[in-house]
Symmetry: C2
Subunit: 188 residues, 2 copies
DNA sequence: AAGAGACGATAACAAAAGATAATAAATTCA
DNA sequence: TGAATTTATTATCTTTTGTTATCGTCTCTT
């Protein structure tokens, strides 16, 4: 279930299996909060089944910042890495099967991994890709209208359209649920 | 002039001076294009004096993505690092004094720096900070109204308000110049 | 199975922003 | 310095989006 991650790491199968023992398989119902905005994150997750969202409270309204699906790693990255209060709440949307790892255990893994010369390259490339991703996502906000952003979403992430409640998608697109509903009816 | 960078690197003064020889001091007039959107970036810059912007063409309209001022390093990061076509044009706003380094020379420096165990940590922290920066900037786009974004800009980056032509600021805020002018008159 | 609550569609109105054009102010530069 | 160009403001009209409210449907929960 976590096999697809193995390929990305410059590690032996044994080492990999050893590290995997740090992960705990958990099953949680829908609408479970895994981390509260303002708390310091102690855990990261990998999704075997289900989907989550990362959201924050803006004057009483909840705004979804990112969605996560099967085989993706989820954390409030800044909070987990730097032990600062999280800007986001992490919440399941569907019932989920997750693999959880504690920060302490992750640090053990990283400590060992750092012996490998390739590791930091790998971490760098991840950080770089994330940065690029945020940049492009941001770009589409400056460049496109809400309607265009919704059309892009249909093309690029159909999973989101199919599995995510519409009012979450609306805040993700930076518009109100009513506005999204209008956009949808015009597109028909 | 580039002294403020030295402190950030775990290097001897001699090594630093050696690397600095790769940089060429150039003076360019306002509205000089240092890199065209679509071209592969071969150079990075450090600003001694003046300011630049990074912009892209969106259906004939130019949209400013980022501003740079004195003592900042400027490049179309993805293009420079990965040798892919740049998403952005880099253009001076004021007459500028810059330090230019060619990608080949930068690679020589990085190759040597990689002997240092601290270097990758440092690069990682830079990538991480950039990612955090984009994320927060993006967040303000989802969360705030154009008026609020303009007020934030006054507080957080007064340089931009003071030195940058208003129509560039407008596109940076994701609105039209006319709309920005209205916002300004309401705030008075 | 019934009731409560959540969700999405739609309508009516208000507010904000875009488009366009005319004009004023500032700046470039010959 | 003065003319030409660029930039900013203002006004008008249109379009888009937000706000609020209503209604029907669906989904939990008990």
């Amino acid at each position: 279930m976590l096999d697809q991650f193995r390929d990305k790491f410059p590690l032996s199968k044994d080492k990999w299996d050893e590290y995997m023992r740090y992960y705990t398989r958990i099953e949680v119902p829908a609408h479970t909060i895994l981390l509260n905005e303002g708390d310091v994150s102690k855990n990261a997750f990998i999704i075997e089944k289900g989907c989550l969202r990362l959201w924050f409270n803006n004057n009483g309204k909840d705004i979804t910042f990112q969605f996560f699906f099967e085989n993706e790693a989820v954390s409030s990255a800044e909070s987990f890495n730097k032990s600062i209060p999280s800007l986001f709440t992490i919440e399941t949307i569907e019932p989920c099967i997750l693999y959880r790892i504690h920060k302490n255990d992750m640090e053990k893994i990283l400590k060992e991994l750092n012996e490998h010369p390739d590791t930091k390259e790998y971490l760098l490339s991840i950080a770089f890709e994330r940065q690029f991703h945020y940049m492009k996502h941001f770009l589409s906000f400056i460049r496109d209208t809400p309607t265009q952003r919704y059309i892009n979403l249909i093309k690029e992430k159909p999973q989101i359209i199919q599995r995510i409640p519409q009012h979450y998608i609306a805040s993700y697109l930076g518009i109100t649920p009513v506005s999204l509903s209008r956009i949808r009816s015009k597109l028909k």
